[in-house]
């Protein structure tokens, strides 16, 4: 169970950030506020990455999500400005979707706490390795032929395609 130490406190605070921010995202009427709540939530996720000794991912998380994606979304909100304050935030099926997601959460919770699907590592306190591979290993893995070089190239192609596609879709065609 939980030991009371600095890591636990950090975990609880970050959980507050992540879930509180997410709650703000789905309920706030003002979309700019919702985006800032999302930034808070994503910042909390970056904190989780630090706690899980993945500082590289934490930095990339801040760089990509907070520096780029949230700015993109704020731009999207501002360019569609008349839509920022809708009278009805939620659509007609919000009760149904609330029920469905709650049920899903209960189902996931059961799966996590009780070893329904056989992943007992989730339940029993596992032996956590002290030695963690560092960023250099990841760099080699991403470009080694035995690693992820093909997905890596495909990912860069995807980014380029997405960039061109976004420009083509969003530009004003005169």
């Amino acid at each position: 169970m939980f030991e009371f130490n600095a890591q636990t406190i950090a975990f609880l605070v970050l959980t507050l950030f992540v879930l509180g921010g997410a709650l703000g995202v789905v309920t706030t009427r003002n979309l700019v506020h919702a985006t800032l709540y999302m930034v808070l939530s994503l910042f909390g996720v970056a904190g989780f990455f630090v706690l899980l000794s993945a500082p590289f991912l934490a930095a990339v998380q801040v760089l990509v999500y907070i520096g780029a994606i949230s700015i993109l979304i704020i731009f999207g909100v501002m360019l569609t400005r008349s839509m920022t304050h809708l009278r009805h935030v939620h659509n007609a099926q919000w009760v149904a979707s609330g029920v469905v997601t709650s049920l899903l959460f209960v189902l996931l919770m059961v799966g996590i706490i009780l070893p329904v699907w056989g992943v007992n590592g989730a339940q029993t306190p596992t032996e956590v390795a002290d030695v963690v591979a560092d960023t250099a290993v990841m760099g080699q893995l991403l470009v080694s032929p035995n690693g992820y070089v093909l997905p890596f190239e495909v990912a860069s192609l995807l980014l380029t395609a997405a960039m061109i596609g976004a420009i083509v879709i969003a530009r004003d065609d005169e």
């Binding site: 890591q7 879930l19 997410a22 919702a34 985006t35 994503l42 963690v132 990912a155 995807l158 969003a170």
Partner: protein, 102 residues
């Protein structure tokens, strides 16, 4: 350390909140935000499993890196589509864009 199930629980909650946003929000930009939250929940799961079960190799983190790429591409294209719709129909409410529905 904090037990693994705690991370998984938070990730599940985050995923469900994001899904609720996707299903219930009317504004397309808000729906995109919900999708980002769901992707982040997946990331938490991947990193947590990596840390607790596979910390010797870097496979878990590599997966997360690819999800970052996909998320960035998705946000860029998604917002471009939203802006394009807004330009054509003066609305980003999802129910207003049902011209393909029959």
């Amino acid at each position: 350390m904090v037990p693994l199930w705690a991370y998984l629980l938070v990730a599940a909650a985050l995923f469900c909140l994001g899904m609720y946003g996707v299903l219930s929000r009317r504004n397309a930009v808000a729906v995109l935000m919900g999708i980002e939250l769901m992707l982040n929940a997946v990331n938490i799961n991947l990193v947590a499993f990596w840390r607790y079960l596979e910390a010797q190799t870097m496979n878990g983190q590599a997966f997360v890196a690819f999800i970052f790429v996909v998320a960035a591409a998705e946000a860029a294209v998604g917002l471009a589509i939203v802006i394009s719709i807004y330009r054509n129909r003066r609305s980003v409410v999802i129910e207003d864009v049902d011209i393909m529905k029959w």
